[in-house]
Subunit: 193 residues, 2 copies
Protein backbone atom coordinates (compact mmCIF):
# COMPACT_ATOMS: atom_id res chain seq x y z
CA UNK A 1 0.00 0.00 0.00
CA UNK A 2 1.54 3.29 -1.05
CA UNK A 3 1.68 6.33 1.17
CA UNK A 4 -1.04 8.13 -0.77
CA UNK A 5 -3.49 5.40 0.23
CA UNK A 6 -2.80 6.08 3.89
CA UNK A 7 -3.54 9.76 3.30
CA UNK A 8 -6.69 8.94 1.35
CA UNK A 9 -8.05 7.40 4.53
CA UNK A 10 -7.99 10.92 5.98
CA UNK A 11 -9.51 12.80 3.04
CA UNK A 12 -9.67 12.78 -0.77
CA UNK A 13 -6.54 13.78 -2.64
CA UNK A 14 -6.08 14.94 -6.24
CA UNK A 15 -4.59 12.46 -8.68
CA UNK A 16 -1.70 14.84 -9.34
CA UNK A 17 -0.78 15.04 -5.70
CA UNK A 18 -0.97 11.27 -5.31
CA UNK A 19 1.47 10.84 -8.15
CA UNK A 20 3.82 13.42 -6.64
CA UNK A 21 3.77 11.61 -3.32
CA UNK A 22 4.47 8.28 -4.95
CA UNK A 23 7.44 9.85 -6.69
CA UNK A 24 9.17 10.83 -3.45
CA UNK A 25 8.22 7.93 -1.19
CA UNK A 26 10.52 5.05 -0.63
CA UNK A 27 9.55 1.56 0.45
CA UNK A 28 11.83 -0.13 2.99
CA UNK A 29 12.11 -3.38 4.85
CA UNK A 30 14.39 -3.49 7.89
CA UNK A 31 15.02 -6.20 10.41
CA UNK A 32 14.39 -6.07 14.14
CA UNK A 33 16.89 -4.02 16.12
CA UNK A 34 17.66 -1.58 13.35
CA UNK A 35 17.91 2.08 14.35
CA UNK A 36 15.97 4.65 12.33
CA UNK A 37 17.52 7.46 14.37
CA UNK A 38 20.17 8.00 17.03
CA UNK A 39 20.69 11.05 19.29
CA UNK A 40 22.31 14.14 17.76
CA UNK A 41 21.14 13.14 14.30
CA UNK A 42 18.39 15.24 12.77
CA UNK A 43 15.20 13.27 12.19
CA UNK A 44 14.85 14.02 8.48
CA UNK A 45 12.46 11.30 7.40
CA UNK A 46 8.84 10.64 8.17
CA UNK A 47 7.99 6.94 8.13
CA UNK A 48 4.66 5.26 7.71
CA UNK A 49 4.47 1.76 9.18
CA UNK A 50 2.98 -0.80 6.80
CA UNK A 51 3.88 -3.59 9.17
CA UNK A 52 6.05 -3.89 12.24
CA UNK A 53 6.74 -2.37 15.63
CA UNK A 54 8.81 0.68 16.54
CA UNK A 55 9.88 2.31 19.78
CA UNK A 56 11.56 5.57 20.73
CA UNK A 57 13.73 5.83 23.82
CA UNK A 58 16.59 7.75 25.37
CA UNK A 59 19.33 7.13 27.93
CA UNK A 60 19.29 9.00 31.24
CA UNK A 61 22.47 10.30 32.92
CA UNK A 62 22.34 7.43 35.41
CA UNK A 63 22.45 4.99 32.54
CA UNK A 64 18.93 3.71 32.29
CA UNK A 65 16.60 3.66 29.32
CA UNK A 66 13.31 5.53 29.12
CA UNK A 67 10.80 4.61 26.41
CA UNK A 68 8.94 7.59 24.96
CA UNK A 69 6.47 5.87 22.69
CA UNK A 70 5.71 2.83 20.57
CA UNK A 71 3.97 2.53 17.26
CA UNK A 72 2.79 -0.21 14.97
CA UNK A 73 0.84 -0.84 11.75
CA UNK A 74 -0.68 2.31 10.31
CA UNK A 75 1.39 4.54 12.59
CA UNK A 76 3.52 7.51 11.58
CA UNK A 77 7.07 7.69 12.89
CA UNK A 78 9.53 10.49 13.43
CA UNK A 79 11.21 12.14 16.39
CA UNK A 80 8.58 14.80 16.96
CA UNK A 81 10.83 17.53 18.34
CA UNK A 82 13.68 16.85 15.96
CA UNK A 83 11.64 16.40 12.79
CA UNK A 84 9.32 19.35 13.26
CA UNK A 85 12.04 21.77 14.28
CA UNK A 86 14.88 20.17 12.27
CA UNK A 87 17.20 20.21 15.25
CA UNK A 88 19.33 17.35 16.64
CA UNK A 89 17.33 14.58 18.26
CA UNK A 90 17.72 13.43 21.84
CA UNK A 91 16.18 10.02 21.33
CA UNK A 92 16.76 6.72 19.56
CA UNK A 93 14.16 5.25 17.25
CA UNK A 94 14.49 1.50 16.89
CA UNK A 95 12.56 -1.37 15.34
CA UNK A 96 11.35 -4.05 17.74
CA UNK A 97 10.25 -6.36 14.93
CA UNK A 98 10.98 -6.80 11.24
CA UNK A 99 9.16 -3.87 9.71
CA UNK A 100 7.97 -2.64 6.37
CA UNK A 101 8.10 1.13 6.15
CA UNK A 102 7.50 3.92 3.70
CA UNK A 103 9.73 6.95 4.02
CA UNK A 104 9.46 10.55 2.84
CA UNK A 105 12.18 13.08 3.47
CA UNK A 106 11.49 16.32 5.33
CA UNK A 107 12.52 18.38 2.31
CA UNK A 108 10.25 16.51 -0.08
CA UNK A 109 7.35 16.72 2.32
CA UNK A 110 7.83 20.44 2.80
CA UNK A 111 7.94 20.95 -0.95
CA UNK A 112 4.77 18.93 -1.46
CA UNK A 113 2.96 20.85 1.27
CA UNK A 114 3.74 24.10 -0.54
CA UNK A 115 3.08 22.75 -3.99
CA UNK A 116 -0.19 21.07 -3.07
CA UNK A 117 -1.99 23.21 -0.46
CA UNK A 118 -4.68 20.52 -0.18
CA UNK A 119 -2.09 18.32 1.57
CA UNK A 120 -2.05 20.75 4.49
CA UNK A 121 -5.53 19.57 5.31
CA UNK A 122 -4.33 15.99 5.72
CA UNK A 123 -1.34 16.86 7.80
CA UNK A 124 -3.35 19.23 9.94
CA UNK A 125 -5.67 16.37 10.77
CA UNK A 126 -2.76 14.04 11.35
CA UNK A 127 -1.18 16.48 13.79
CA UNK A 128 -4.47 17.04 15.54
CA UNK A 129 -4.98 13.32 15.89
CA UNK A 130 -1.56 12.99 17.49
CA UNK A 131 -2.27 15.91 19.79
CA UNK A 132 -5.21 13.96 21.16
CA UNK A 133 -2.99 10.90 21.60
CA UNK A 134 -0.34 12.94 23.39
CA UNK A 135 -2.97 14.51 25.61
CA UNK A 136 -4.11 11.06 26.68
CA UNK A 137 -0.54 9.99 27.37
CA UNK A 138 0.02 13.01 29.58
CA UNK A 139 -3.10 12.16 31.52
CA UNK A 140 -1.89 8.56 31.82
CA UNK A 141 1.48 9.59 33.24
CA UNK A 142 -0.24 11.73 35.85
CA UNK A 143 -2.19 8.82 37.29
CA UNK A 144 -1.20 8.71 40.93
CA UNK A 145 -0.26 5.07 41.49
CA UNK A 146 1.44 2.38 39.46
CA UNK A 147 -1.61 0.12 39.16
CA UNK A 148 -3.74 2.88 37.65
CA UNK A 149 -1.00 3.73 35.19
CA UNK A 150 -0.78 0.12 34.06
CA UNK A 151 -4.56 -0.23 33.78
CA UNK A 152 -4.70 2.99 31.80
CA UNK A 153 -1.99 1.70 29.51
CA UNK A 154 -3.92 -1.48 28.83
CA UNK A 155 -7.03 0.51 28.00
CA UNK A 156 -5.19 2.95 25.77
CA UNK A 157 -3.00 0.42 23.98
CA UNK A 158 -4.61 -3.02 24.17
CA UNK A 159 -3.00 -4.12 20.91
CA UNK A 160 0.45 -2.92 21.89
CA UNK A 161 0.43 -4.31 25.41
CA UNK A 162 0.69 -7.94 24.37
CA UNK A 163 3.40 -7.24 21.83
CA UNK A 164 5.88 -5.43 24.06
CA UNK A 165 8.42 -6.58 26.60
CA UNK A 166 7.50 -5.90 30.19
CA UNK A 167 10.59 -3.79 30.73
CA UNK A 168 9.70 -1.56 27.80
CA UNK A 169 6.22 -0.98 29.15
CA UNK A 170 7.79 -0.22 32.52
CA UNK A 171 10.10 2.35 30.97
CA UNK A 172 7.12 3.94 29.25
CA UNK A 173 5.14 4.15 32.49
CA UNK A 174 8.07 5.40 34.55
CA UNK A 175 8.22 2.26 36.67
CA UNK A 176 11.00 -0.12 37.65
CA UNK A 177 10.62 -3.45 35.81
CA UNK A 178 10.38 -5.23 39.14
CA UNK A 179 7.51 -2.99 40.19
CA UNK A 180 5.56 -3.59 37.00
CA UNK A 181 6.10 -7.31 37.36
CA UNK A 182 4.50 -7.23 40.81
CA UNK A 183 1.67 -5.02 39.58
CA UNK A 184 0.89 -7.40 36.75
CA UNK A 185 0.73 -10.32 39.15
CA UNK A 186 -1.69 -8.47 41.40
CA UNK A 187 -3.66 -7.36 38.34
CA UNK A 188 -4.05 -10.91 37.04
CA UNK A 189 -5.21 -12.10 40.46
CA UNK A 190 -7.74 -9.27 40.61
CA UNK A 191 -9.17 -9.88 37.16
CA UNK A 192 -9.31 -13.67 37.44
CA UNK A 193 -11.62 -13.73 40.44
Amino acid sequence: MPLATALLKIAPLSEKCQVAIRAVSQSLIYKSGRYLLVPNQISDKLYYIEAGLVRAFYDTDNGREVSNWFDQEDGWVCSVQSFLTQTPANEYIQLLEVSQLIAVSYQDLLRLLNQYPELNFHFRLLSEYHLVVYDKRLQLLREQDALKRYQGFLELYPRLACRLQVKHVAQFLNLAPATLSRIRKKFQEDTSK
Copy 2:
Protein backbone atom coordinates in the same frame (compact mmCIF):
# COMPACT_ATOMS: atom_id res chain seq x y z
CA MET B 1 -5.20 42.79 18.35
CA PRO B 2 -7.60 40.71 16.31
CA LEU B 3 -7.26 36.99 15.79
CA ALA B 4 -6.08 37.40 12.20
CA THR B 5 -3.01 39.23 13.47
CA ALA B 6 -2.06 36.27 15.60
CA LEU B 7 -2.34 34.02 12.56
CA LEU B 8 -0.32 36.45 10.43
CA LYS B 9 2.59 35.81 12.78
CA ILE B 10 2.57 32.24 11.47
CA ALA B 11 2.23 33.00 7.75
CA PRO B 12 0.63 35.48 5.34
CA LEU B 13 -3.13 35.38 4.95
CA SER B 14 -5.37 36.72 2.19
CA GLU B 15 -7.34 39.88 2.92
CA LYS B 16 -10.58 37.99 2.29
CA CYS B 17 -9.76 35.34 4.85
CA GLN B 18 -8.75 37.95 7.40
CA VAL B 19 -12.10 39.65 7.03
CA ALA B 20 -13.92 36.34 7.36
CA ILE B 21 -12.06 35.56 10.56
CA ARG B 22 -12.81 38.96 11.99
CA ALA B 23 -16.48 38.37 11.25
CA VAL B 24 -16.69 35.27 13.42
CA SER B 25 -14.33 36.15 16.25
CA GLN B 26 -15.57 37.54 19.49
CA SER B 27 -13.60 39.61 21.95
CA LEU B 28 -14.14 38.86 25.63
CA ILE B 29 -12.96 40.04 29.01
CA TYR B 30 -13.56 37.78 31.98
CA LYS B 31 -12.46 38.04 35.57
CA SER B 32 -10.27 35.67 37.51
CA GLY B 33 -11.90 32.42 38.57
CA ARG B 34 -14.29 32.25 35.63
CA TYR B 35 -14.71 28.84 34.02
CA LEU B 36 -14.39 28.55 30.25
CA LEU B 37 -15.30 24.88 30.41
CA VAL B 38 -16.52 22.30 32.89
CA PRO B 39 -16.49 18.49 32.58
CA ASN B 40 -19.15 16.87 30.40
CA GLN B 41 -19.50 20.03 28.36
CA ILE B 42 -18.17 19.94 24.82
CA SER B 43 -15.31 22.35 24.28
CA ASP B 44 -16.80 24.22 21.34
CA LYS B 45 -14.71 27.38 21.34
CA LEU B 46 -11.10 28.03 20.60
CA TYR B 47 -9.71 30.96 22.57
CA TYR B 48 -6.69 33.09 21.88
CA ILE B 49 -5.23 34.79 24.94
CA GLU B 50 -4.56 38.49 24.43
CA ALA B 51 -3.77 38.91 28.09
CA GLY B 52 -4.22 36.77 31.18
CA LEU B 53 -3.56 33.34 32.60
CA VAL B 54 -5.50 30.11 32.16
CA ARG B 55 -5.27 26.62 33.60
CA ALA B 56 -6.88 23.28 32.87
CA PHE B 57 -7.43 20.71 35.59
CA TYR B 58 -9.58 17.78 36.61
CA ASP B 59 -10.69 16.10 39.82
CA THR B 60 -9.52 12.60 40.68
CA ASP B 61 -11.76 9.98 42.30
CA ASN B 62 -10.03 10.56 45.63
CA GLY B 63 -10.98 14.20 45.45
CA ARG B 64 -7.77 15.95 44.53
CA GLU B 65 -7.06 18.31 41.68
CA VAL B 66 -4.62 17.61 38.87
CA SER B 67 -3.48 20.49 36.65
CA ASN B 68 -3.04 19.53 33.01
CA TRP B 69 -1.60 22.73 31.57
CA PHE B 70 -1.35 26.49 31.87
CA ASP B 71 -1.26 29.13 29.23
CA GLN B 72 -0.78 32.85 29.03
CA GLU B 73 -0.43 35.75 26.56
CA ASP B 74 -0.32 34.58 22.97
CA GLY B 75 -1.49 31.10 23.89
CA TRP B 76 -4.35 29.15 22.33
CA VAL B 77 -6.89 27.54 24.62
CA CYS B 78 -9.28 24.65 24.28
CA SER B 79 -9.71 21.23 25.81
CA VAL B 80 -7.62 19.34 23.26
CA GLN B 81 -9.45 16.02 23.40
CA SER B 82 -12.90 17.53 23.64
CA PHE B 83 -12.47 20.27 21.05
CA LEU B 84 -10.75 18.18 18.40
CA THR B 85 -13.10 15.23 18.70
CA GLN B 86 -16.19 17.20 19.77
CA THR B 87 -16.89 14.84 22.64
CA PRO B 88 -17.62 15.71 26.29
CA ALA B 89 -14.63 17.10 28.17
CA ASN B 90 -13.16 15.59 31.30
CA GLU B 91 -11.45 18.75 32.47
CA TYR B 92 -12.17 22.23 33.75
CA ILE B 93 -10.66 25.29 32.09
CA GLN B 94 -10.45 28.24 34.42
CA LEU B 95 -8.97 31.74 34.41
CA LEU B 96 -6.35 32.41 37.07
CA GLU B 97 -6.24 36.14 36.31
CA VAL B 98 -8.46 38.71 34.65
CA SER B 99 -8.07 37.82 31.00
CA GLN B 100 -8.78 39.27 27.61
CA LEU B 101 -9.67 36.56 25.11
CA ILE B 102 -10.75 36.16 21.53
CA ALA B 103 -13.11 33.29 20.79
CA VAL B 104 -14.04 31.40 17.64
CA SER B 105 -16.57 28.60 17.64
CA TYR B 106 -15.70 25.13 16.40
CA GLN B 107 -18.34 25.34 13.68
CA ASP B 108 -17.11 28.68 12.37
CA LEU B 109 -13.52 27.50 12.41
CA LEU B 110 -14.40 24.32 10.54
CA ARG B 111 -16.27 26.33 7.95
CA LEU B 112 -13.38 28.72 7.48
CA LEU B 113 -10.90 25.88 7.13
CA ASN B 114 -13.00 24.45 4.29
CA GLN B 115 -13.75 27.80 2.72
CA TYR B 116 -10.16 29.06 2.87
CA PRO B 117 -7.78 26.13 2.34
CA GLU B 118 -4.84 28.43 2.99
CA LEU B 119 -5.90 28.47 6.65
CA ASN B 120 -5.05 24.79 6.94
CA PHE B 121 -1.43 25.77 6.63
CA HIS B 122 -1.66 27.98 9.72
CA PHE B 123 -3.49 25.45 11.80
CA ARG B 124 -1.18 22.67 10.69
CA LEU B 125 1.75 24.68 11.99
CA LEU B 126 -0.12 25.54 15.14
CA SER B 127 -0.84 21.87 15.82
CA GLU B 128 2.74 20.91 15.07
CA TYR B 129 4.00 23.56 17.44
CA HIS B 130 1.80 22.18 20.18
CA LEU B 131 2.94 18.64 19.43
CA VAL B 132 6.48 19.74 20.20
CA VAL B 133 5.30 21.35 23.43
CA TYR B 134 3.42 18.20 24.42
CA ASP B 135 6.43 16.07 23.63
CA LYS B 136 8.54 18.18 25.98
CA ARG B 137 5.92 17.89 28.69
CA LEU B 138 5.88 14.11 28.39
CA GLN B 139 9.64 14.06 28.73
CA LEU B 140 9.36 16.34 31.76
CA LEU B 141 6.87 14.05 33.50
CA ARG B 142 9.16 11.09 32.98
CA GLU B 143 12.04 12.68 34.87
CA GLN B 144 12.83 10.23 37.66
CA ASP B 145 12.90 12.43 40.77
CA ALA B 146 10.95 15.42 41.98
CA LEU B 147 13.89 17.84 41.89
CA LYS B 148 14.61 17.15 38.22
CA ARG B 149 10.96 17.61 37.37
CA TYR B 150 10.90 20.98 39.09
CA GLN B 151 14.13 22.11 37.46
CA GLY B 152 12.80 21.01 34.09
CA PHE B 153 9.63 22.95 34.71
CA LEU B 154 11.57 26.11 35.48
CA GLU B 155 13.57 25.71 32.29
CA LEU B 156 10.54 24.99 30.16
CA TYR B 157 8.26 27.64 31.65
CA PRO B 158 10.35 30.37 33.26
CA ARG B 159 7.67 32.99 32.65
CA LEU B 160 4.88 30.85 34.04
CA ALA B 161 6.73 29.65 37.10
CA CYS B 162 6.65 32.98 38.90
CA ARG B 163 3.02 33.60 38.06
CA LEU B 164 1.53 30.39 39.40
CA GLN B 165 0.65 29.17 42.86
CA VAL B 166 2.97 26.53 44.24
CA LYS B 167 0.12 24.06 44.62
CA HIS B 168 -0.81 24.41 40.97
CA VAL B 169 2.73 23.72 39.87
CA ALA B 170 2.75 20.72 42.21
CA GLN B 171 -0.44 19.38 40.62
CA PHE B 172 1.13 19.83 37.20
CA LEU B 173 4.27 17.92 38.19
CA ASN B 174 2.40 15.17 39.99
CA LEU B 175 3.78 16.13 43.38
CA ALA B 176 2.20 16.77 46.76
CA PRO B 177 2.30 20.52 47.59
CA ALA B 178 4.32 19.72 50.70
CA THR B 179 6.91 17.88 48.62
CA LEU B 180 7.30 20.73 46.15
CA SER B 181 7.65 23.16 49.00
CA ARG B 182 10.57 21.15 50.38
CA ILE B 183 12.10 20.81 46.92
CA ARG B 184 11.96 24.54 46.35
CA LYS B 185 13.67 25.20 49.66
CA LYS B 186 16.46 22.81 48.78
CA PHE B 187 16.65 24.31 45.30
CA GLN B 188 17.02 27.84 46.62
CA GLU B 189 19.78 26.70 48.99
CA ASP B 190 21.58 24.94 46.13
CA THR B 191 21.42 27.87 43.73
CA SER B 192 22.36 30.51 46.27
CA LYS B 193 25.74 29.01 47.11
